[in-house]
Symmetry: C2
Subunit: 150 residues, 2 copies
Amino acid sequence: MVQRQEPAGMELIHLLREVTLQLDLAGAQFAGRNGLHPTDLRALIGLLDAARAGVPSTPGRLGAHLGLNSAGTTALVDRLERLGLIRRVRDTEDRRRVLLEVDERAVALGQSFFGPLIDRTLTLLDTFDAGERAAIRRFLDGVREAAKSP
Amino acid sequence: MVQRQEPAGMELIHLLREVTLQLDLAGAQFAGRNGLHPTDLRALIGLLDAARAGVPSTPGRLGAHLGLNSAGTTALVDRLERLGLIRRVRDTEDRRRVLLEVDERAVALGQSFFGPLIDRTLTLLDTFDAGERAAIRRFLDGVREAAKSP
DNA sequence: TCTAATATCTCGCTCATCGAGATACTTGGT
DNA sequence: ACCAAGTATCTCGATGAGCGAGATATTAGA
């Protein structure tokens, strides 16, 4: 069988793919262990990000972020609320809207999962000098942009 | 509200998360556009990897790789076969087994998705010198290992 | 040869998500 | 002030991926 000659950089590309795979697997494993579906975890991450950025969350925004329709979004919010991870609160300014408040439990859950991983990665980053970190940043930035177009 | 002071490296960590998010989104988008479910795409990637490595694929291996039980695996293989992406072939040596052969269509489909992304990334990698590439490799390697433990 | 192990498949069920549409509230034009 | 159109959310019924349990076929070991 004739095999196409692989360019030198392919090794790094496969490595990047393995990294994303490992991160996804870790997330799925964590989700399963806590009675969450993959979607629930993605939702939680989005909600925590929004909370950290000070952006109010609503079912509409959340559903759009995850690519769910309104029915699926309602079901998702129901699940998260039933688990006590978020609360529904009617917006007093626009009473059509429902605001989603993340409970302390959700924050703690996020910390328990991402905390150790983040700590290990920060420790790893300490072993790079400024120039190397700049290279990593530029690489990740480039890949992110490359992944946006397809 | 008191905000925890973020260490300097957090920026890179968020960037890495964005990259994995973009790659996942791109994959999901591609999958949807081709009538594939996320699982189907992951299966296809696994099958193409195995084919490239010269490892024979079976429903058992595939299901284990994806974390599906046998019923789900059968349904998955049914879908992929119905789409003409793989073929089931009885193994003549151990006739309990079914070998999964990836069709040319599947290879072409993989190329059409990963090809442009890979090309862009290779072009990006050309802009780094050997030392920078080594740093990127060490970083990715470290993150992969960090993600394995939780 | 009889039994245990292995590989795959079938059946019936659960539940996340979808499409369609209902409900409640707000806004802008008149 | 009023009414139509727009917006945010929810309800209902249907679809389909994946699961648990177990059936079937084949191989390997005592």
